[in-house]
């Protein structure tokens, strides 16, 4: 098996695992009524570790899986997650020296932007997400939790990226 197919296989496995955790557990893990968005987190981590292309591709598939959970239009999460994954890669590239704290900050900010972008696009397509009175609470909780969960997600993404679990890449 060549390196490219191994990479695809690993990322696919990680996406499926994340999806199962999201639907099996995290949908009910709702601090203040808001659940974490680990599919979005995966896109951000892919961007941080694999660069902007990887972030966009992983974000696209993570978003598509996420859209199958929701009753809104198909493709909204895919677009948002892909853009955020791409941006995370660009941001990480512009940082001279990576650190765990910077990765956490990128994950938190990226999550906030991703949720806000999702709300805007959904609103454009007829939902009431942008006018949801809990919008800022949702953004805050998702970004804080994703910022913390990023510490657990990064090693797994490192494995998927073929960098090794113990590599010092953030």
């Amino acid at each position: 098996m060549n390196a490219e197919s191994t990479l695809v296989l690993r990322w696919s496995l990680l996406l499926v695992m994340a999806y199962l955790i999201q639907v099996g557990f995290l949908q009910d893990f709702r601090p203040l009524g808001v659940h974490p968005e680990i599919m979005l987190l995966l896109a951000i981590c892919a961007g941080i570790l694999g660069g902007s292309s990887r972030g966009a591709i992983v974000g696209f598939f993570a978003g598509l899986l996420n859209d199958l959970l929701l009753s809104g239009s198909l493709g909204i999460s895919a677009l948002c997650f892909a853009l955020v994954g791409f941006a995370a890669g660009v941001l990480e590239d512009s940082v001279i020296r990576s650190s765990r704290l910077i990765s956490m900050a990128i994950a938190a900010v990226g999550s906030a932007v991703g949720v806000l972008m999702y709300a805007c696009l959904s609103q454009l397509l007829g939902a009431h997400s942008l006018s949801d009175p809990r919008l800022w609470l949702i953004i805050t909780i998702v970004s804080v939790i994703n910022g913390v969960l990023c510490l657990a997600a990064l090693p797994l993404c490192r494995w998927a990226e073929g960098l090794g679990l113990n590599s010092r890449a953030y």
Binding site: Q27, I57, L74
Partner: protein
């Protein structure tokens, strides 16, 4: 560590990838919004295929979810625990099992004896999941689909009254748009005089608003019952009167020359479990 990017080629490739993905997603969104059958059926098939996976994942994670619910609902749990402790001496495990079965049966029987349905064909279904999104999407999923004759537009009710209508159907599952959705508008008849108007959800699970069709001269009082249906060319069956709730507050709107009715739902949306789907579809 990720190798440093080669500015020229890598950046160009990244932009190309982003462009392709953006165009692809915009195409998917557009096709889905226009209801192209290929996208809808692909989406429905994927949902059907993923449903057992979701079920299995939820089954595996039950202990974790229970633990979390135990932590977050500590007060409720403690209260329940005390109650259970006091009952422990009287109840054996068998009796409790029997009680559970009876409760389940009672719930189903309750749905079988919905008086306002008459002899209308219907299908009992169970609510399998609530909102999957952090944002309120005013939908629930039920465990029955087109293989049992359910179709888009079918009204969904409980003994309490109208719950919503089916907006998406796959072979084994359906998505129900709740009446609480601000976009859910329905023709209503109000009170003994059967005044006709149009109402809509407000986004919360307590209040429904009727803000069209009830003239200032129409006789409406608080506690009057509000029904969906009984109107020709409505999204609800014209020969059925499905309860929505009772009038709580009446506010005259002089500018629009109507009375605005604030209606309290008779359905408890926080406790939706078993529902009944009326096998009737609107004419258009």
């Amino acid at each position: 560590m990720r190798p440093l990017s080669q500015p020229g080629k890598n950046r160009q490739r990244s932009r190309y990838v982003l462009l392709v993905i953006t165009l692809l997603t915009i195409t998917i969104i557009t096709l889905d919004a226009r209801g192209v059958p290929m996208i809808s059926s692909a989406r429905d098939s994927s949902r059907d295929a993923l449903a057992p996976v979701r079920g299995a994942a939820r089954w595996v994670t039950t202990p974790f979810r229970n633990a979390w619910n135990g932590i977050t609902g500590y007060d409720e749990l403690r209260e329940e625990n005390e109650k259970l402790r006091s009952e422990l001496g009287q109840d054996t495990a068998n009796a409790m099992r029997e009680q559970n079965a009876q409760e389940e049966l009672a719930k189903l029987k309750e749905q079988l004896n919905i008086s306002f349905l008459g002899s209308t064909q219907s299908q009992i279904a169970r609510v399998t999941s609530g909102a999957s999104s952090n944002f309120s999407d005013y939908t629930v999923q039920i465990d029955k689909g087109s293989e049992l004759g359910l179709a888009v537009g079918n009204p969904v009710v409980t003994k309490g009254g109208l719950v919503g209508r089916i907006v998406r159907v796959t072979t084994k599952r359906s998505v129900v748009q709740l009446i609480t959705d601000p976009d859910f508008s329905v023709g209503v008849t109000v009170g003994a005089d059967q005044n006709q108007g149009v109402g809509h959800g407000t986004g919360n699970t307590r209040t429904f608003i009727v803000d069209r069709g009830i003239d200032l001269t129409d006789e409406v009082q608080t506690k009057d019952s509000v029904f969906a249906g009984g109107i020709e060319n409505s999204i609800m069956p014209p020969d059925l009167f499905i309860p929505i709730g009772t009038v709580d507050k009446i506010t005259p709107d002089e500018a629009a020359r109507v009375q605005v009715l604030q209606v309290n739902y008779t359905v408890q949306f926080g406790r939706l479990d078993v529902v009944q789907v009326i096998k009737w579809v609107p004419a258009s």
